[in-house]
């Protein structure tokens, strides 16, 4: 599975994949999913930004995996790609993962030495993400 954080302009701030074989594939998937995210975000429009959205539709015929998206108020997007092969994670778990991601992200933001737009190099963020990924896979 992999976790990607993209900022306002869909610029990746953080990319992390656990099984590293299909990384490229993950990246590609994430990019395509970002489009869907954008679409959803713009669609919601005035309706308040939904805290999270689930993608269950991106299923390739060859491999199946689920792509989940999450958008913060500042249009920072988190995308998680998980293989469907591993026991499918429940919705709640995904939500909690996004929550954790979000909180870690805010911690990173709080760091005055972090300039928004930089790639995230925080060790704590890394550790949280890896812990999450290990836990879910």
């Amino acid at each position: 599975m992999s976790v990607i954080t993209a900022d306002l302009r869909n610029y990746p701030l953080y990319i992390r994949s656990v099984p590293t074989q299909n990384e490229l594939k993950f990246h590609y998937t994430v990019h395509t999913s970002l489009d869907v995210v954008e679409e959803k975000v713009s669609a919601v429009g005035k309706a308040l930004p939904d805290q999270r959205e689930l993608y269950l539709g991106l299923l390739y015929p060859t491999e199946d995996y689920k792509v989940y998206g999450y958008v913060t108020n500042s249009k920072v997007k988190f995308v998680i790609v998980v293989d469907s092969s591993n026991t499918s994670l429940r919705d709640n778990e995904i939500r909690s993962m996004f929550r954790k991601l979000h909180s870690s992200f805010t911690d990173v933001m709080c760091n005055p030495f972090y300039n928004p737009g930089d790639t995230i190099q925080s060790k704590s963020f890394d550790s949280i993400v890896s812990a999450m990924m290990v836990q879910s896979s």
Binding site: E93, D107, F113, S122
Partner: protein, 790 residues
Amino acid sequence: MESLTLSDVEQKYYSDLFVYCDVDNTKKVASNGKVLDLFRAAQLSNDVVLQITELCGATRLGHFGRSQFYIALKLIALAQSGLPLRVESLNSVKDLPLPRFVVGKNEQESRHTAMYPDTENQGPYSSVIPRPPGRVPAKKLSTHEVIQPCVSAVEPQPDTTSPVVSPHQSPPTSPHAWRKHKRQASGGAVDRPPAVAGAAWPPFREAQPAGDGMWASHSPPPVQESWVSFTDTPPSSTLPAVHPSSAQESTTVRTVASAATTNEIQRQASGYEDPWKITDEQRQYYINQFKTIQPDLTGFIPGSAAKEFFTKSKLPILELSHIWELSDFDKDGALTLDEFCAAFHLVVARKNGYDLPEKLPESLMPKLIDLDDSAGVPESAPEVGFSSSPVEVTPNKSPSMPSLNQNWPELNQSNEQWETFSERSSSSQTLTQFDSNIAPADPDTAIVHPVPIRMTPSKIHMQEMELKRTASDHTHPTSPLMAKPPELSEEKKLAAIKFPGSTVGDGYSSSDSFTSDQEPISSAVTRQRSHSGTSPEGLKAVAPPPPPPRPHASHSRSSSLDMNRNFTAVAAGTQQQAGVVAFPPAVPPRPLPTQTSVPHGHRPVDGDGLPAHSSTSPQQMPEQPNFADFSQFQVFAVEQPVDDGDTQQDGGQVEKGVDAAGAVRATKNDTQAEERTPATVNSAKGSTPLAPPPKPVRRRLKSEDELRPDVEDHPQKSSVVPGVLATQASIPRSIGKDKKAIQASIRRNKETNTVLARLNSELQQQLKDLLEERISLEVQLEQLRPFSHL
């Protein structure tokens, strides 16, 4: 490998060394690098080292486990004594001196040697350590490594006493003084344990050159240096762990190592003290710097200002970012004084070449300034086994979520339930959700019944049950256990705010609001607690003691004049009843009518003797002096009764009409007894968690009990109406006034009946919910069990 027997001294020494080498803090394996360094420090040829490694089995295993390490140490001792290396000799050689390691092995060791003049080993050691003249400043980065042969030790430590002296020599305060001390300290100072400040000095030297370049704009470099020494050995701070043990030993056999170099040692781990401990001088310096940015010592330094400040140190942004993450404990984007000191300390350490720790060392944890939340966040740095400095110890920053995550890494990672809970509990979302949960619960709880005032445990439980029901989906059952007190308080406040509003409408404003205050609190509390069975107890423990009975609780139902009288009478007397509000017998003057059996149907809850109550009520009437109105009625009724023989004890189904009066009298005693029993039963029920609904009933019953002497009133057992009518009819003299009173009482009874019925159904519902919860909890427990085995 053959078993290795070590003397106590050896055991301690070896364990210290092992800890020292246990860079990764695995407690099982000593990192190869460190171990090899250590071995090399023993001044043995490489061949010998290799041989030892093989012998101890490390090459076989590929790493140094504890036993391998010990064996290796023993072999080193053997080798150093000039004995041939043989496995068999491990145990056979007696009185083997401890292995000596030249390079600043362990500050502890040095410390020990310094501190505790080792009787046996002193001599040889003192001369052993050829203190490298001075660590090359450039070597800062490598300072950690014990090995650096040239390193450390400023000067050989001729005497164990010298180290002891050095600390004293170092005068704390001014940086310049530090510098001087450094020189002096180098002479002896290995030992630092006692002098935190002094200890640092020697290392200064080394840091000096490097330090000069830095902080040009800041305080004098020496400060850094000294500090550097402290910050030394962050990564492998085995010190803290070792410290206690080593400190204990009087004969530290730590041998020579001391020689290692005061600097090294100090660096390594400020000896017994926490390597990350901030000395007073340092702290003072930090505080001064803090003041330049933020004059108010209790205020915050905003992130931007801190950024500028620390950028001056010319550390790479990435490292500064890391330092910030470590030091901004509450993740608020601003630095308090403590956080600032920690950050500064880390910067100094880094400047001097020491790696930054992964987690904030305990001694650097900011003290809780204002504790909103609970305190006691466990220290994050495992390496810091203990912190000798009282100042920095408090690891209680307010537990924000980040700190939560920081401090409960295992919990967060091990069990998602816990993790999610912690997130939930600490996130504002939970709070808001709780709010929303509380709100919906209000109507339920408010509805229950007019029972206003008393907050019996049962009622509390009931509230809790209701809230649990509504909130069960919201929080994990296990999560309540993790609830933090602050949450509780917040929830309480929230709940308290909400409840009164909702319950006011009942008409029992004063009492209701009171109870509602308690209810939400208890409900919040209970919600926080695990639902399984502990809630009742928890409730009881937590719920505030029920208020003293309200004397004049507005009881809309209390229509009878006597009730007020009863209230006053009872209120004065009965304060002890937990939460029993002097509730005068519900329908006080229920003259005859109660006899009728009709009420039976309405008395679902109390069961037992309830029916009897109704029948008895009329009887009690007569005994109630207060009910003057009905006394005459009673008289009539009594006159009427056929006879006393009628024992309608249980059935309570007093036949309408004729028997009524007789039954009344006859059953009077019974009913009284029964009343008592039901009352007690109810009260018993009330005390059990599952009997919230009967509260009103109970109360009335209890009050009845109380009032028994005064008024034997029949509990609110409704019913009677038909009976009343019947009796009324039978009564020859139906006075208009009495009729009205009777009808009023009938009405009241009916109301109470319905209330009771509702209570009953609700109780049943709650019971079901409770059982369901219990089952779900058990299931979860089952699920959790396997994890514990993992």
